[in-house]
Structures are given as C-alpha cells and as structure tokens.
C-alpha cells in the first residue's frame, strides 16, 4: 500500500491550502509534495480571495479551515462553488470545529469532504486522491 504518491506524475496537481494555523501548512506540505502536488498556502480569507482571483481559480483542489480572519471557510466555499467554472473546484474542509451543525452547513454549501482536526495524514492523502480522480 503506497500512500504518499500522487495520481499521475506527469501532471502536477495545484492545491490551495487556506489555514491560519502555523503547524498545519507544514504538515500538509510534507504530505502533498512535488512532483505530484504543488501546494500554495495562504493564511486568511482575504489572501485566499486575492490568490484565487490572481490565478483565475486555477486549482485542482482547495483545502480550507473554517475559523479564519477576514473571511471564514464557509464564505470561501460559497465563493468557490458559485464561481463560473465548468466544474467547480473540489473543496475539503479541515477544521477543529467539527460539530454536527458545522458539518451539515459545509455540505449544504457544497463541500466535497470534511475532516476534523487532528487529522490522520494518510487519510488526508487518500481523500485528496479520491477527489482528484473524480475531477
């Protein structure tokens, strides 16, 4: 069972991580490494919107926290899902706040997956791969 490899080494999957915690990006960067994944990290909602606009929403996947400064994960999720694209970018919500209401709200807004912190790295990579395969 090989967990820490990408889908197709010929194409690099661009992933945007939106997370204000300083440890999580280091963890995710260690898991989703080049050459299979290219990880961009921003630490709040405002930077996320700027990054998405600047890149023309050119991401294969977005991983976002919920509680963040300027704009929370739900606002980002709504914006990403309502963006005029042939197929919306898949979004994984990773959050400490894993109560029932928040999970329901995330899925109502179109989240493709929800992971509660602390995460299991191997689980994250399997979920990322699954979403990228469906892309």
């Amino acid at each position: 069972m090989v967990l820490f490899t990408g889908l197709n080494s010929a194409t690099m999957n661009k992933i945007l991580l939106i997370e204000d915690d300083e440890i999580m990006p280091k963890v995710v960067a260690r898991i989703l490494q080049p050459p299979d994944y290219q990880l961009d990290h921003v630490s709040n909602g405002k930077e996320a919107f700027e990054k998405l606009e600047a890149t023309g929403y050119d991401y294969a996947l977005i991983i976002t926290d919920i509680m963040m400064p300027y704009a929370n994960g739900f606002e980002i999720l709504s914006k990403v899902k309502s963006h005029d694209r042939e197929k919306p970018i898949p979004v994984i919500i990773v959050s400490n706040a894993g109560n029932e209401d928040m999970i329901m709200e995330a899925f109502k807004l179109g989240a493709d997956d929800f992971l509660k912190k602390p995460i299991i790295p191997a689980e994250l990579i399997i979920r990322v791969k699954r979403l990228l395969m469906n892309k």
């Binding site: 069972m1 967990l3 820490f4 915690d21 440890i23 999580m24 280091k26 963890v27 260690r30 898991i31 400490n96 912190k117 602390p118 995460i119 299991i120 790295p121 191997a122 689980e123």
Partner: protein
C-alpha cells in the same frame, strides 16, 4: 533630628527644610510618585526586553524544531511497519543539537509537540508522544506536579492529558478533591481522560458536593471523550453517600440509557430525600420504564410538589396509556398551576392514545385550562 545628606543634595535639602509644611508634603508626594513611575517604566521595559529576547530565541528555535519534528515524525511513516509507534526508537541526534538543556527550550519543545498533536493523530500522533517521552520532557512535568503552586499543577495536568501520559492514582486522586476550583476541575478532567480502566473512581472519594457547574463540565468531558470505559452508574446510585454524585449519576444513566441500572434507581423512590426522589422519578421517566407507572400513581398523593410534577412528566414520557384518566383528573381538579400544566403536557404527549380525551377537554375546558392545553399543543414548545 539631624539627617546626614550628601553634599550635592544639600541645596535641595535646605530648600525643603525652609519650605512650609504644605509644600514639604507636596514635594514628598512628587518624589514618591516620580520614583514609582520610574520603577513602573523600568519594569515595563525589562519585561518587554525579556519578551523580545524570548521571541528572538524562539524565532531561531521553532523553525529548526518544526523541521526536525516533520522529518522525524511525519516522514517516519511506513504503514506496513511491524513496530508499534510507541516502541519506535527515534533518531534524537538532531534534537540534541538544540539547546534542550535549557528550561525555556524544553518548554518550547513540549508546547510545539502539543501543537503538532492538535493537528495530527493516528500513528504520527503516537510518534509525537514517543518523541516527547524519549526526549524525557515528561520529567519536567512530573516536577511541576510537585510544585506548591496550583497554576503549575493545572498546566502539568493539561500537558499530561495532551500527551496521554498516565498519572499514578496516589498523585491525582487527592487533587480531585482540592479546595481550589480550577485544580479540582483539571484533576477530574485528567482522571477521566487518563484512567483507562476506572475513569470514574474519583466518585468514590468525592467529599464535597459536585457543584452544578462542575457537573456541567464533567458531563461535557465524559460525553465527548472517546474510548472511555463507561461503567454501570448504578454502583454510585446504590452506595455513594454523596447526594450530588448520586444525582449526577442519574443524569449519566439517562444519557447512556443504562437499563441495567433501573433496579438501583427504583430503590431511590423510597429515599427520604425529596430532591433525589424527584431526580429518580425523572430518570425512570426518561428511561421509559413501563412497569413503574402503577407505583408512581400509587405514591403520587403522598409526595411533595416537586415529585408530583416529575411523576406527571414521567407518565407522559413512558406513555403506557393506562393512566390517561389520572392525568385528566389532575388536569381538571388540581389547584396548582404547575401540576395542571404538567398533566396537560403529558396528555398531549400521548395524543395518539388519548385523542378522544384531548378532544373532549378542548371542547369542554374552561378558558384558563383551554389556554394551558393550547400552549402544550404548540409543537415549538419543548417538552
């Protein structure tokens, strides 16, 4: 009185001595306030400088530490490895390059490992615990536990919980009865989280009443802790001499729907304590124990108001249907508003069985009782 002053202060001293009393007092006041202000400024500057130095030291240490943890723990992942994460011998050479002989660096390392554990679990989480133990950071925490300051003990307990390090009963059990509220709560929290076999043993040694806020906190901890061994709470219902522990266990029995505890709860119906009897009736009602309805109706007339209300509610919750007439009689003839309201709620709750009686009451009740019935029929009002 002759006071010797340094030569350079003599002009000021002479000026002070020649001044009127009011001016002398004002001058003393000015000198004292100036000195205090200067001391405050010095203290603030010293703390800021220390903070700056600390931030500078951490600024150098933390990136190195993060890289080491990521490389040593997250990269040390082989899902097919036979060795359990707890038994893995980590390569600590690089960690020993850090100034871990210094207390601040050890504390920063502990805090960082805890921060990582809040982000990752599974095998990496267990490896972080292994790292914490192999760096012998737990020894600092054991020292903190021996401190006479309660804040240090609370911090140490929190650290033990985060790192899932068991603590000896002899150390922690006395703390669960501490007179300090914060320490007591932290110790109980730690005991529940860390005691794998008997997380509720401290119920046996609780001497003071569990305050309502303590109960709320404990309930939250118990119901949100994963992999906790839930005992049969009937044990404390039967044997505990602490009324608040019994009351709390009744709530837990309801939460965990512990039907084997019903015989012990039934025994409480004969207790002389009205408060506990009401709680026991409430518990039996919420557990929907069907064969208890007759006994509740039989004892109803001899009970205080609090217990009577609970009996009416329990009959409504159990919903056996044999005592709808009793509820109707109480609704129509009771002189107490709360009893009428509880009876009405129970009739409404059993609407499927008592629809004829409910309709009859709606048609014939006086305006006051009709208002109670309509209020109870409002689905937005929680029962």
């Amino acid at each position: 009185m002759y006071i010797q002053v340094p030569e350079f202060l003599e002009p000021a001293w002479n000026l002070f001595q020649g001044a009127p009393l009011a001016i002398q007092l004002a001058m003393i006041f000015i000198v004292i306030t100036t000195v205090i202000t200067l001391l405050a400024y010095v203290s603030i500057l010293r703390n800021r400088f220390r903070g700056y130095q600390r931030a500078k030291r951490l600024g150098k240490l933390l990136p190195l530490l993060d890289n080491l943890i990521v490389e040593e723990v997250l990269a040390n992942q082989d899902p097919l490895a036979q060795t359990q994460p707890d038994a893995v011998q980590l390569n600590l050479e690089s960690f020993y390059q850090l100034p871990l002989h210094k207390k601040w660096a050890r504390q920063a390392t502990t805090d960082r490992i805890i921060h990582f554990r809040r982000n990752v679990r599974g095998n990496p989480g267990r490896l972080l615990r292994t790292l914490y133990l192999q760096l012998e950071l737990d020894k600092d925490n054991v020292k903190q536990m021996k401190s006479s300051k309660w804040e240090r003990k609370v911090r140490a307990l929190t650290e033990f919980i985060e790192m899932d390090i068991p603590i000896a009963d002899v150390t922690i059990l006395p703390l669960t009865n501490s007179h300090n509220r914060e320490l007591r709560a932290a110790a109980r929290h730690a005991y529940i989280k860390l005691s794998k076999n008997e997380p509720f043993k401290f119920f046996d040694v609780v001497t003071d009443p569990l305050l309502m806020w303590d109960q709320v906190e404990l309930f939250r901890i118990i119901t949100t802790t994963e992999d906790i061994a839930i005992p049969n709470f009937a044990r404390w219902v039967t044997y505990s001499s602490n009324r608040s522990v019994v009351s709390f266990c009744l709530k837990l029995i309801v939460h965990y729907n512990q039907l084997p505890a019903v015989p012990a709860v039934k025994q409480l119906l004969d207790t002389k304590d009205h408060y506990l009897r009401a709680e026991a009736i409430n518990c039996l009602g919420k557990l929907r124990v069907p064969d208890i309805e007759d006994k509740l109706v039989y004892m109803y007339s001899s009970q205080p108001l609090q217990c009577q209300i609970e009996i009416l509610k329990a009959i409504g919750r159990i919903g056996g249907g044999q005592h709808i007439d009793f509820l109707k009689q109480e609704f129509l003839h009771s002189t107490n508003f709360d009893l009428r309201k509880s009876a009405a709620k129970s009739i409404v709750k059993n609407e499927s069985i008592a629809n004829k009686i409910l309709q009859e009451l709606l048609d014939t009740a006086d305006p006051g009782r009709l208002l109670i019935l309509k209020h109870c029929m409002n689905p937005l009002i929680k029962y």
